[in-house]
Every structure is written in C-alpha cells, then in structure tokens.
Symmetry: C2
Subunit: 355 residues, 2 copies
DNA sequence: TTGAAAGCGCTAACAT
DNA sequence: ATGTTAGCGCTTTCAA
C-alpha cells in the first residue's frame, strides 16, 4: 500500500490561490472573485482561472475562508450515544437539512456526562459552529437550568446558537431554539386507546424522576385515566431506565408478584422489546392475554413480535426543524420554539381486555 | 425567547488573543504559549493569562489555528445513509476513537450517489480533514477503480488519507488505508453450521452483482456446499437488494413456486427480518419447518422472533481501527490493511432439518 | 474589470 | 521567560 509520511511536507502539493493566480496570469484577488462567484469577472479571465485551478488540482482552504468569514458553515450535533435507538433518524434529518443549507455536520457524544457536554459545547465555540444541537432529554438536576443558560449565552456571544431538540425550553430569557414533541399528548392518546379497548389496569413501566420526557408521558397517562374516573395506582407505575433490560426485569417482577393488569404501557419501545421478551418467556400471549404498547416508534417496533403498537415521534422532522430554525432565525425573526405533534401507530400488540 | 440577529456583529463578543494579552499585560505570543502549553511560561504569568481568559470568556479560534497548523484535527465519516442498520455501531467506533485521539468527527451522506461521494471528498479536502472514511460497500462499476484511485491520490496530495471501511482495497499502488472484514469466512462458517444441522437445500436471498460484500458471502456459501460435495443450485440463489422488503417478497415467491428448501440464508439481517415476517404470515414455523439465518448481527437481530442466528461483524471495532490506522500510520509505517474476523452467533432461528 | 494592500486570529521563528 | 515580527491562505476595501 503506497504511503507518504504525514510529516513529509515536501511532497504535499497543496496549491494556494497565489499559485493559481500566477499560472493564470492574474492577481490573487481575481482568483478569489472567481471562487466566490459573487463578483463580476470577465468571462475570458474566469475561464483561464478555472483552467489553472483544474490543472493544479486546487481546492480552497476552508479554514482560511472561515477565518476571514468568521463562521465555518458547520452545525454540531451533540448526542448521548450514537447507537441510541432513534439517534439515526434525528441525525438523518439534521444531516439532510444541514446539507440542503450548505452546511457540514459535526457529531459528538457525551455519554450522559454533563462535564463532557460542557467541554463539547466549548469545543464547538472554538470551531465557530453556527448551531449546537443537543439531542434527547436529560434529567434536570438542580444546576441544570443555570449551567445551560450560561452555555446558551456563551454560544450566543460567539455568534452560535444553542438548539434543544427533544428537550424542553430553558426558563427565562435565554437565547435558545427549541424543537420538542408532544410527550403528554402521545401518552394521553395511547392510554385512551387502551382504555377504549377495555383495559383499566395499565402498568406503566420505565418512569424516570426528573426527566421531562418521562414526566410528560406520565402526565398524559394520568390525565387519560382520571378523565375516565379511574384511579392512578402507584403500584402499577414502575421506575426504571429507558432500556430493554429494564423492561424485561420489570415484567418478570410484575408477573412474579402476580400484579393485576391487562395491559403494559412501556415508556419507550426499547423497554417494550424487553417486556415482550419476558412475556413470551413466561408463556403469556400478546395480545390475547396481555396488551403491550410502547413510545417512540423506532424502526425496531414493527419487527417485534407481535408488531408493536406505539406512539410515533417525528424524529427526522425534529432534526430537520432544528437545523432550519437555528440557521434561518434572523430572517423571519420568527418563533424559536416548536412543539411537534405525536400520534399513535396501531399494529398488532393490543387486543380487547378479557373480562 | 431571546434573540440576537446573526448579522448583529456589534453585540458579538468574540475575544481574541490580543485582548487577552492586553488585559493580562503580556504579549500575544505569551498568551499563545499558555494556550498551547508546550512552551515554558512563568507560573505567575500563566496564572494572570488564565484569569484574563476566564474573565473575557475567551475561546481560541480553531480556524485560525488550523490555518497555521495546516490541519484541522478532523476526521470525516462518509456513509450511504445514516439510518443504515449498522451505521450506528461503526459510527460509535469512529467517534470514540476520534475523540480519544483528540479529533472531531464530520459526518456526510452520499445516498449511494457516486457524484455526491466525489463532491464530498473534495469538500473534505477543503476542510483539511485528516482522514476520509468511506463506510460500507458499493457496487464496483467499471470506472470505480479509476475514480477512487484518483481520489486517493488527491487526498494524499492534500495531506489527507482515504480509508476504506468494509470495502476491499483498490488495486495497484494507491495511498489507502483499508479495514475490511471476512465476508467469505463468515458465510462459510454459517453455511457449514446449517449443513451440520442437516440442511442441504439452503436458499440464498439477496445477492447483488458486483458488490464485493455480496460476492464474498456467495463464495463462502458455495465453498461450504462444494466441500460437502453438494451442488450449488442457482434456483436457490435470488438476486435482490439488502432490504427487508426484498426478503419479504423473495420468501413469498419461494413459497409460491413451492421451491424445495429447508433453510434460508439471508444475505443481511434486514433481509432476514423480511424473511421471518413472510414465513410467519404464511404459517411456516421457524425453526421447526424452516431455519433462517442472517449476516451482520445488527442490534435488531436478537429482538426478532425467533431471535436470529447470524454472522457477527465487529462493526464498532472496524470504526475504531479505521481511525486508529489512518491517524497513526507514519509512526510505525505499518500495514495499512486489516481484515477482521467474523463469527457466527447462535440464537433460536435454526433447528435440525426434518427428514 | 482588475490589482495592491490590509487584515482575519493565531503560531513560530528569532530576538532579547 | 517574554516580546517582536512575519506569515498561514483567503477576502475585501480601496484605487486604478
């Protein structure tokens, strides 16, 4: 395999605008004008410059441009974990919209570490990223609001924009762009659907304290029950992480302690995957014996058995909107807050309650 | 929501090294030394500079640094589609290794368009990305070798490195780093496993002409059959894209035309998902009536029903290795080619052939 | 329409 | 240990 030492500068043929200028017999300024294309240059001259660029295999130095322009045409995408179940679809939305707007896309992961999140945001300030998109919810610790508000101001001061995607707005007058979706409404609709199928004892698996995503879903669940005059049984609400493994364990527990329920509302599809596995293992049929629903509508959902009835979240659109709003805000000066709707997707995991 | 017009330069407080220097009562060079940390600075001075930086909320301008350093500490990750089933795990490997080596990660998508791939590689040249990692296989058209060789040289000339990840090496003396995995061996092992379970009529679903990934897998399949003195029946090998939908259709066809087979080897797990769906729909039990296996070991595989026996590909390690090799090549001057092993993962979708 | 020159923010000799 | 100076490659006045 051919190699060339990274240190072997002599062999590097990075052409500059000057070399192109010399070859085309014009000044560097003219070459710059041809590149930029926003300034009148005689057709003949332009042709010569173009040819020189081609012959020398010239490519502009984006860093030099960014230095002058004081912006880097870059959007940063900060996420907990790239392998997260819906990361991919938000990422697609972000990437496509960024590309459509002529921007490049940086990706970083925090692994849920607030310190790392902070460090990354500063790194993005260094990069002069035009927008820093934080994806997914995080538990709101006491310091959270303060810390994020500071970061938002710091980014704003650097000409960059903090974007919260799938996370509620910060309190107060903070420079932020927020794109969230309706957790409460989705959970309400789903719970109502289960109720109308006759289920009155619905276990809610995977609630997380302080996580707004979780709180919203719980509220929707409770509102639907109360609307029918049904009690909210704390014994049916089980705390736990948004993970497959938790769904499995929690379901086993429920079964072991012979809890009374006819349906399980898993707080996420990943949790639902674990629930289904545990039920199958225990010989409980879905949806004949127990109905199961999830939340998120990740790609996996329709491949589960039975295909999972769940709440659809418009992940790709969230990503798209995040970029669009962050980049075009000065134009319409418009609203920098958007809450997208969610809706249930009915598949095969819900049946009528057995009387 | 507080806003600040993007054009409102006056309110931007991007501090420069000069301002810090002035505030700390030193020269810009000293500040630079404090930032870099690679040069001796008196402790007292450093403290003053640090404080000035903090007070002004200074952050270095990565673009200015990159301009001087002639490199941008960036690695580019070029992929067909971010929602691809194993993208996420390669991405994790790339991102983590890049972070570990102090690099940032750019992500771009080609949507399978060769022109866009070319444009992206040039864009990465502009960015002075240290490595451009092309992920996943593509069909080798006649021009492919030539075009890629040119790009490899162009990147090399710009001090960047072309990395082929999950794609075979280019012919000839091309500056490239290649990290692939053993398609042939994996398919051979899997076919052998099916054979040893008594399956002799194994349908191979989803072969793609000219796609090296596919070719390798086919070879492994054929080698295993021939090794047992069994014929390769072209009627059991069905061409089609690596997609769920294809797996579904192809299986229906197989069933409709009453093809004779006891096992299905889906070329990818996504295809296998479609296969399982079609079989379930047709009332064919897995693995009692028909055994099914896949290739890739995507996260979905173990959530399928029955959990899918498949060939594991070390996606994350591939990503990691790609970055590591590309960045550290001059040091050991070592091999820039690596083929990782694959192995089968036995789950629940294979049973003994019925006699 | 084109060229000359200044400067973006930083680093790296070269002085001191 | 610190300051001075000269660029890195580009864009953008300002002149011509």
């Amino acid at each position: 395999m051919a190699r060339r030492s990274a240190a072997d500068g002599a062999s590097l043929q990075r052409r500059t605008i000057k070399e192109v200028a010399a070859r085309a017999g014009v000044s560097p300024a003219t070459v710059s004008r041809v590149i930029g294309g926003t300034y009148p240059v005689a057709a003949a001259t332009r042709a010569r410059v173009r040819r020189a660029m081609r012959e020398l295999d010239y490519v502009v130095n984006a860093n030099a441009r960014a230095l002058v322009a004081a912006t880097s045409n870059t959007v940063a995408f900060v996420v907990n974990d790239v392998t997260g179940p819906f990361f991919a679809h938000i990422a697609r939305g972000v990437e496509e919209q960024a590309t459509a707007e002529g921007r490049l896309c940086l990706v970083c992961t925090t692994h849920g570490d607030p310190d790392r999140e902070l460090a990354l945001i500063n790194l993005m300030r260094e990069q002069r990223a035009e927008a820093v998109i934080l994806v997914g919810g995080v538990p709101e610790t006491p310091e959270y609001q303060d810390r994020m508000a500071k970061l938002a101001h710091a980014l704003d001061g650097s000409g960059s924009r903090l974007v919260l995607c799938g996370r509620p707005a910060l309190n107060g007058d903070v420079p932020q762009t927020v794109v969230e979706y309706d957790n409460e409404g989705g959970a309400f609709a789903m719970t109502s659907y289960l109720l109308s199928a006759g289920h009155e004892r619905i276990a809610l698996l995977g609630t997380v304290d302080g996580l707004p995503t979780s709180t919203g879903r719980i509220h929707g669940y409770e509102r639907a029950l109360r609307g029918r005059g049904l009690p909210v049984d704390p014994g049916l609400m089980v705390k736990g992480p948004f993970a497959r493994e938790f769904g499995y364990r929690a379901t086993r527990d429920l079964l072991d302690r012979k809890a009374e329920f006819s349906a399980i509302f898993a707080m996420t599809d990943m949790v639902a995957a674990g629930v289904l596995f545990a039920l199958r293992e225990a010989g409980v049929r879905v949806p004949d014996d127990v109905s199961v629903v999830g939340f998120d509508d990740i790609p996996l959902a329709e491949d589960l058995f039975p295909a999972l009835t769940t709440v659809h979240v418009p992940h790709e659109e969230l990503g798209r909107a995040a970029v669009r709003m962050a980049l075009n805000r000065s134009e319409h000066g418009g609203g920098q807050y958007l809450k997208m709707g969610t809706h249930i997707v009915i598949r095969d995991s819900v049946g009528p309650a057995r009387s």
